[in-house]
């Protein structure tokens, strides 16, 4: 009951944040306040869940969603307070977060037992880098999606496409690339300790590696071919799509032992 209430409250806060982000002017700052409240609500939800099931939010789709909803808010706040142009990214980024939040209200909240092999500090590093990566990817989606939207609506290169935004977008992607690499390395160490193999090309690992590879391709294409900017933005959206599938689809669609259940 408490979990449902917090889940809906968090989704409501993100909804309010998204609505505020649609407005220009001083009220746009409200989006950050609502995002901060939403992140706090989801942090409380993670704590409540942790106390109830006795382990961290690693296993079920619901747990993965709520923990990411908390960290997505934190990453958005950190970036938006450091980079002024990031506020323009919130319109699309927060829309994605709101959809994820609404989805989390509908999924099963049944707990699952934590496999004994999950008691490994590398798991924390693996999950932590993954969450920062997804947060940065969502901000990049916000920029790229917003620019693509403007381009489609106005049939010309958006005015907001300043050199600064373009630079921030690709710097964020490079940082996301770094965090994804750290996630893969930490995950390999964890898997080696847990299952006695560091890489096995299971569906989740394959999906995560393809995400990293698409990022590498996007970064090189931009440098090598000087691809048109809209194509670069499309690649950023594709990276987010793959990352979303890796986080919220593949672990729950495949029966591979990546969840440690065996």
């Amino acid at each position: 009951m408490l979990e449902s209430a917090l889940c809906w409250s968090g989704a409501g806060c993100y909804g309010a944040a998204w609505l505020a982000s649609l407005r220009d002017g001083p009220r746009a700052g409200l989006a950050l306040w609502f995002t901060a409240i939403a992140a706090l609500v989801y942090a409380s939800l993670v704590a409540v869940r942790w106390l109830a099931v006795g382990h961290g939010p690693f296993l079920t789709l619901f747990e993965v969603q709520i923990s990411n909803l908390c960290t997505l808010g934190v990453v958005a706040l950190v970036v938006a307070t450091r980079v002024t142009e990031a506020r323009a990214a919130l319109r699309i980024a927060l829309l994605a977060v709101v959809l994820l939040a609404l989805w989390s209200t509908q999924v099963s909240k049944a707990p699952a037992p934590l496999p004994a092999s999950f008691g490994n500090p590398w798991l924390w590093a693996h999950v932590g880098f993954g969450k920062i990566f997804l947060g940065l990817c969502t901000i990049a989606l916000g920029w790229a999606g917003g620019l693509l939207w403007d381009l489609r609506a106005r049939q010309r290169m958006p005015a907001a496409c300043s050199e600064a935004v373009e630079r921030h977008l690709w710097q964020t992607m490079t940082l996301a690339f770094l965090c994804h690499g750290a996630m893969l390395v930490a995950g390999a160490v964890w898997a080696n300790d847990t299952w006695g193999r560091w890489w096995a090309w299971d569906p989740l690992e394959t999906s995560a590696f393809l995400t990293w590879l698409v990022m590498a391709v996007a970064l090189h294409l931009r440098l090598a071919w000087s691809i048109p900017r809209p194509l670069g933005w499309c690649l950023v959206v594709a990276v987010f799509g793959l990352a979303f599938l890796t986080f919220f689809g593949m672990p729950f669609l495949s029966l591979a032992p990546h969840k440690g259940l065996g």
Binding site: T174, F177, G181, W201, T206, L210, V214, H220
Partner: protein, 329 residues
């Protein structure tokens, strides 16, 4: 003469094309269930000279130390991954409590051409008891296993593997009962061995196996367990508590033997010595893994330094813009 060729080899367009080819190979392999296609290996083999050539001819890449370390690290990682495939070993072993690990009984999953089988055969440890905690509805909890290595007792569990002489033994969920039987032939000779039964409690309904006697007769050996596994409460599977009767079926006729009992068969007698348990391990030998980890970490540190420098440059540019004069505060 070589420079134009080197420049072509160092092309970033070639890098992107090879990465796309590699990604396509990984994706195709994921659907086919085999990611080690020649397509993937060819693209990876192309990436190493591409990277090395880029490092040689691209002064911009060399100037950016962070990027240089990242790319050199990636190239080293690829080379190490190839060498590692030649030296590594992966297998599965079932070790019976009270018995020493037998390297010749390991089921080989993967073995590189440069792996020395003699090193595996030289490994020695003795399996002592183990315990597996279960929650209700067969929810597996922690596993504790005690082994004796060079006279020293060691505890291993789900998060602590056994590392000995470069080999790593990781616990698997597989474990089960082992029937210890002796074959006493008509000339007075005796041979004792074990017949491992299927994984328990996963296949508690099928605790039987076939065994051919040295005289050539095929027997079905089944374990009659004293009690069923509780489904509604927590319990512990303890190897020290292993017990039960042996049911021997020969040509449709079943005979139950208690520990110490014998059964006369064609060509000799079968003596049931008792019940022990076996524990499954994943055996891994990958001597280059620490180097691969170190190089991967170094490569990431290089990329991190590059990002830090780029962000730092931006911050400094902002400082200049705020000052107007370009003077630092």
């Amino acid at each position: 003469m070589f420079e134009p060729a080197l420049r072509r080899l160092a092309s970033l367009k070639l890098t992107a094309a090879l990465l796309i080819a590699f990604g396509g190979g990984v994706l195709a392999g994921a659907f086919e269930g085999d990611t080690r296609s020649w397509w993937c290996e060819a693209s990876l083999a192309g990436l190493v000279p591409n990277l090395l050539a880029a490092l040689a001819v691209n002064p911009r890449l060399r100037r950016q130390r962070g990027l240089l370390v990242f790319h050199a690290g990636l190239a080293a990682l690829l080379v190490l991954a190839v060498v590692s495939r030649m030296t590594r070993f992966q297998g599965q072993a079932e070790v019976i409590t009270g018995e020493a690990f037998d390297g010749s009984a390991v089921t080989v999953v993967e073995e590189g051409a440069w792996h020395r089988r003699a090193a595996l055969a030289a490994l020695g440890f003795e399996q002592h008891g183990f315990r597996v905690e279960y929650g209700p509805h067969l929810a597996r909890g922690r596993t504790h296993s005690e082994v004796l290595v060079a006279g020293k007792a060691l505890d291993i569990d789900d998060t602590h593997a056994l590392d000995t002489q470069g080999y790593r033994f990781v616990l698997t969920p597989n474990k089960g009962y082992a029937l210890i039987v002796s074959w006493l032939d008509e000339r007075g000779g005796a041979v004792t061995g074990a017949v491992n039964l299927p994984s328990f409690p996963l296949r508690d309904w099928n605790q039987r196996n076939e065994w051919r006697t040295p005289a050539g007769e095929v027997l079905e050996l089944a374990l009659a367990l004293p009690r069923r596994v509780p489904d509604d409460r927590a319990w512990v599977l303890d190897s020290a508590a292993a017990g039960g009767d042996l049911v021997v079926t020969v040509a449709g006729a079943a005979t139950t033997l208690r520990p110490g009992a014998t059964l006369t068969l064609s060509g000799g007698r079968l003596r049931f010595e008792g019940v022990r348990m076996w524990l499954g391990y994943r055996v891994r030998h990958e001597p280059l893994l620490p180097w691969m980890f170190a190089i991967a970490t170094l490569a990431l540190a290089g990329l991190g330094a590059h990002c830090w420098q780029k962000l730092g440059v931006r911050e400094r540019a902002r400082g200049f813009a705020r000052d107007g004069s370009g003077a630092r505060a």
